[in-house]
Amino acid sequence: MTAQIVAPKERKVAQKRIALTGNHAVALAVKMARAEVIAAYPITPQTPVVEKLAEYVNNGELDAEFIPVESEHSAMSAVIGASAMGARTFTETSSQGLGHMYENLPIAVGMRLPIVMGMAVRTYSAPINVWGDYSDVMSMRELGWIIYIAQNAQEAFDTVIQAYRVAEDSRVHLPAVVAYDGFWTSHVLQPLDVPEDEEEVMRYAPITRSWVKLDVDNPAQLGAVGTPEWYWEIRWQAVEALRASLKVIQEADEEYGKVFGRSYGLLTPYRLEDAELAIVAYGSIFGLVKKVVDRLRREGVRAGALRLRVIRPWPGDMFKKLLEHVDKVAVIDRAINHGGPLYGPMAVEIAATIQKPVYNVLATIGMRAIDSDMIYDAVVKIHRGLWVPNTPYTVGLRGYE
C-alpha cells in the first residue's frame, strides 16, 4: 500500500495516511487485531468487509479461519462456537441479515463471548431498500451487546480495535457491535491514519482468552439449561457487566488516545458548555450538525451539539451533566420507533434520561439524503417555538406537517 508518512510528535505510534472506504477500514482493523475466526455470509449487505478479509486470509496476510457460511444465522452460530473455543472472532452484517441472525444474538451475551461484529447500518424491508438508516442496530438495544456508533471511516477503524480490547476485558466479556452509516460511511472513500507497525494494535489489544471457554483439560458445558432457579441471576451478571463496561470503554478509549492519538469519548459534545439549544445526533451526519451549530452561533443563537458514540451501555449520568443547562434538546433520530411514545428510539431514551421533554426529529430514513440547510431549517423552527416538544417531526419526508 502506498502512502505518505504522517507521524506528528505527540503520537507515540508512527502512522501513515491511506485512503479507504469505511468497509475496508473495518476490514483492515480486523486484520490488524488478528482475528482468528471470521464467519460471514458473503452477500449483500456486507460483502466488501468480508470480501476484503477473505482476500487477506487468501493472501496469507491474516492467519485466520474464514468460514463462508450459508446464512447470517449460521455466521453468528459459527463465531459463537469459535469464540467459545477461545478464538478472537469477527463477523459483519446488517439489515435483513441481522434479522436472520437475531435468534443467536442474545446467546452470545448469555455465554459472555467477546465477539466483535461490524455493521454498515441499513434499513429493513419492505419495500426493499438496501440503503442506509439505523433500523437494524436500533433493534439490538435490548439484547446486552455493547453498541458503538462511529462517525466516519477513521473512527470505525479505531473503534473496532477498541471493541476487541473492551469485549475481551475480564471485567466485561460481552459481544460488541461497531455500527457505521451504510453507504455514507461504508462505501465512501476517505483518508485515515493507520499504525505503520501492525504489532502496535496487538500490543494495545492483546488477545486475553480470559473468558469462559471450552477446554479439553478442563471440561465444561456452555449455554446449558438455566432453570428458573438460576437464569435470572446468570443473566443479571451480564446486565451488571454491561453497566460496568462503561468504565472499561472509557479507559480503553483514553488509552487508545495515548497510543494512537485519537480518542472519542462515550459522547462527543460540541460547543455545548453555554448552549441553550442542543442538537443530538449520531453517525455520519454529525459533521453537518456541527456546521449548523456554527451557523446558528454566528447568528447569535447559543447552539451546541452532542454525538452519541456509545448507546449500550447508556452513559446516562454523562447525558444529564452535559444537557442539564440546555433548554431545548432536539434529537435527530435515524430509525423509527413505530408507535413508540416518541417516534425516534434515541429521543425516547434521552427524554427518559434528562427527565425533560425533547424535540424529536426523524431524518435519513431509507437513506433519504439531507443537507445542513435542511437541519438548519428544522432547528430554527425549534428555536422559534414553531415546533413543540414530544411531537414527531420529520426532515425530508414528503407530504408531512
Binding site: T2, A19, L189, G396, R398
Partner: protein
C-alpha cells in the same frame, strides 16, 4: 480551497472507481478528499452519479454536492437526460466530457458558454490501452490536467491501490488523455452569477412519467401495478451502433435469432430492380430505441453485412 465534483455515467463504466482513484490520488498528494458514490439499482447501463469533494482542510461535513465546480460526463448521450447536473455547474467551473464528437459539436451539445469545456475521446484511448470501454482512467487524466491535481504520479499509485491490476495500461491511457484533452475556455465568466439550477438531493434519477407525491398518495405497501417498459429506451447505452449493408444481406436472419434485445426488425424497404423498376422488399433493420450496441449481430452475420460504427 474546496472543489466539489459530480461524475455522471452508466453502470459498468467505472464511475465509482474513477472517484475512488481521484480521491485516493488527491489524498496521496496531501489533500483531504471524500468520494461519495450514489448507489442505485446497480444495473449495467443505468445512469449513475458519484460525488467527490477535495479540499485542503479536513472534510467533516458530508454535504451532498448541489452546485458542483466540476462535472465529468462519461457518456455524451446522458447530457440531455442529466441536463440538471450541467445546469448546476458554477459559472467558471468545468464540464469534462467523454465524446467521439468534435469539440465544436460537444460545445453545442453542452450548450453553456460560461464554463470551461474539456473534450476528450476517452473511449478511443481506453480501447487502445486497456482494451475495454471504461473511460475512467482517461477522464482522471483530463481532470488532473485542468485542475492541476492530483499529480499523474499519484494517480498511478492510486491505480495500484484501487485496481491492483492493469496498472501500466490504465496509466498509459491516463497519460495520453492528460496530453490530448482539449480545453475550451468560457466565452464569458460572470463569477457573481449563480448556477441555473441545483442537483436535487432526492429522486434525480427517476425516468418515465412519475409523479413525486407525498406519503398519503404513494401506493399503499409500495405496491407496483402493471405498467409498461416502453419508456425504458435502453438504446441510449450504445457506444457503437450496428449499420447494415443491404447489398450483402442474404436474409438468413441469424442476426435476428441472436440479438439479445429483440432489436432486429424486418422492415419493408424500397429497392430498385436492374431495369429501374421500383419494388418493396423485406429487409433487416434495427430498432435503435432498444439496441444496446452489443455487437452480437455483427459477430454472427455470415456475410459481414453488419458493421459496428462508433456512435458515442
Amino acid at each position: 480551497m474546496r472543489v466539489e465534483t459530480v461524475w455522471l455515467g452508466r453502470g459498468g463504466q467505472g464511475i465509482v472507481t474513477a472517484t475512488y482513484i481521484v480521491a485516493n490520488a488527491s489524498i496521496i498528494d496531501g489533500f483531504h478528499a471524500i468520494a461519495n458514490p450514489e448507489f442505485g439499482a446497480e444495473r449495467r447501463g443505468a445512469p449513475v452519479k458519484a460525488f467527490l469533494t477535495i479540499s485542503k482542510e479536513p472534510i467533516e461535513d458530508q454535504e451532498p454536492v448541489k452546485t458542483p465546480d466540476v462535472v465529468v460526463v462519461f457518456d455524451d448521450k446522458l447530457i440531455d437526460s442529466m441536463r440538471f447536473a450541467i445546469d448546476a455547474v458554477k459559472p467558471g467551473g468545468y464540464v469534462i466530457i467523454n465524446t467521439g464528437k468534435s469539440p465544436e459539436e460537444a460545445k453545442k451539445l453542452v450548450g453553456r458558454d460560461d464554463v470551461y469545456l474539456v473534450v476528450l475521446d476517452a473511449i478511443d484511448i481506453a480501447r487502445r490501452h486497456v482494451k475495454l470501454d471504461v473511460p475512467n482512467g482517461p477522464l482522471a487524466g483530463a481532470f488532473s490536467k485542468v485542475m492541476g491535481f492530483p499529480t499523474l504520479e499519484s494517480i498511478k499509485q492510486a491505480f495500484e491501490t484501487q485496481l491492483g491490476k492493469a496498472v501500466e495500461q490504465n496509466f498509459a491511457a491516463t497519460k495520453e488523455a492528460y496530453e490530448k484533452a482539449v480545453v475550451i475556455p468560457p466565452a464569458r465568466v460572470d463569477a457573481s452569477a449563480k448556477p441555473k439550477g441545483i442537483i436535487s438531493t432526492t429522486s434525480a434519477f427517476l425516468t418515465g412519467p412519475y409523479e413525486i407525491v407525498g406519503w398519503r398518495e404513494v401506493n399503499k405497501a409500495g405496491a407496483v401495478f402493471p405498467g409498461t417498459s416502453l419508456f425504458y429506451t435502453t438504446g441510449g447505452w450504445r457506444i457503437d451502433k450496428p449499420v447494415i449493408d443491404h447489398s450483402k444481406c442474404i436474409m438468413c436472419r441469424k442476426c435476428w435469432l441472436y440479438c439479445p434485445d429483440d432489436a432486429i426488425i424486418e422492415a419493408w424497404r424500397e429497392a430498385e430492380g436492374p431495369r429501374g423498376r421500383k419494388f418493396r422488399m423485406k429487409a433487416i433493420d434495427f430498432d435503435y430505441q432498444y439496441c444496446k450496441g452489443c455487437g452480437v449481430c455483427a459477430e454472427v452475420c455470415p456475410t459481414g453485412a453488419i458493421q459496428m460504427v462508433r456512435e458515442l
